[in-house]
Symmetry: D2
């Protein structure tokens, strides 16, 4: 089995730009994360444009769907911003692909102390190999079917 | 669903003792790891004596089996040293409990830069919720049934 | 000898707010930094309002001057944003206090991977004990007298 | 001014070997530390054999003295194990070189969470530029002349 990892940005991949003095995107941290995880499973990383998920539009979601469609792998982890993760999950879920697609992300950027990014990424990599075909949101230790979840923004968590 | 986490030591929980100048065990890092993971799933942490898995004997493995037997939860993650993880998995596997028990650990201590501990812990927490009852070893992105795995020590990985 | 540390904010103390999804200020990281440094020298930490130094006005700088004036200690480290560090150094320098006052900060927040904050803080703590009375800017391995420095913003460094 | 950094090992540079499962030495972390510190001062790094300072003998100390003698720079930071830092300081001090030589190290390895290594390194880099010629031990916020210091091993600190 090979796992496909699709990077789309979100808090997970936010980067502190020291000249600008603010958070944005540079390259994805995922190549480094995959090395750090010492993954012995073969992995294909695909880096789409990195976006804050509040800035994603329909075309961006179609691009993610296209990447899932074209993937040879049946296990896919999509690293995504949490704010509109549900909307992307709906687009992917409606397509009813014969694949296990797991969306995950982070509340704290990977490069920030005390980040949940590495935990969530590991969590999603487990689920993508273990659950039947379908589209799931997997964050902070909980797994949700794509059509049975909402983000509680005041608590910063999915329910 | 509630997840039970059982700490038994291993590289994951090794701690640098600054007076002795060497690695040993103090308290488990798991309470801090669970907070960092922002787990919204209820979790029960049980801390057994923390041991290097090369120092574990039959009684130590029976203690781990006892903890799994007594657990109310059907999903269990056992954090364990990698050197004898297979032996403990065999003891747990032979008991054929109606639970999903996932053993995991780390190649690099949690408190050391570039550690795989948080990834592996997330990975195991996903699998413990997603796979059927059974005993599994889950490390570095791969899942093994307890009776179909061995550790390749020269490469530092399970096969 | 006792060292006084005055926290005023800046990139050093920026904190990622996981509900807002952006960088701001919460409590200073300096209590934790001082513990981590295992400082055996007595230290007095004074926390002023934490500000982005671009948001500092004359009253804010007078408050910092007041803290330096009132301090019993003759060695003082001021943790400050880099963008207007020079302006604050000028206010402190003009007062010609019989103290060694060292302004420092960071290009990358303390809580972000690969931060220079701990290095700069150690650097300033050394200089505050070693140089004659005066006001200095100490960043990234270089020491500047307050009246002989400017920040090159395009390179993100003092010259 | 240029600063010379001499790496000799010690806790600062200890590295966790994931195949052996114990602490030893690989390459020095100092190239990475110097980049992280964003040092704008020119720096010459010289890497001597990396040793636990309990394993250092007279020849090892003469090698360090030789490196200090040959250095063109008048400011030198020696990164060294703490257990015999005083003995090396005595060898360097007796030579009465017209240079400012600062020995520093760490209680916790650079690559371990909560390490004091980066603080101590910054501290020493400040002192090496600011104090008159002489040999100093600089650890955890305190500066000692080479002939007025001892290590209290039960407290893990210099006095």
């Amino acid at each position: 089995m090979t796992l496909r990892i699709i990077a789309t940005g979100g808090t997970f991949d936010k980067h502190y730009d020291e000249l600008e003095g603010k958070l944005g995107f540079d390259k994805s941290h995922l190549p480094q994360v995959i090395l750090r995880a010492r993954m012995t499973l073969p992995v294909q990383l695909e880096e789409l444009p990195l976006l804050d998920s509040l800035d994603m539009n329909d075309a961006d979601r179609q691009r993610i769907l296209g990447a899932c469609l074209r993937a040879d792998e049946t296990g896919i982890v999509v690293v995504h911003g949490t704010d509109t993760m549900k909307q992307t999950a709906e687009v992917l879920g409606a397509a009813q692909l014969p694949k296990t697609i797991v969306l995950t992300g982070a509340m704290i950027p990977y490069e920030t102390k005390n980040s949940d990014a590495l935990f969530n990424f590991g969590f999603a990599c487990g689920i993508a190999q273990a659950l039947p075909h379908g589209v799931y949101i997997a964050m902070n230790g909980r797994i949700f079917a794509w059509d049975k979840v909402r983000k509680n923004r005041s608590l910063g968590r999915f329910e």
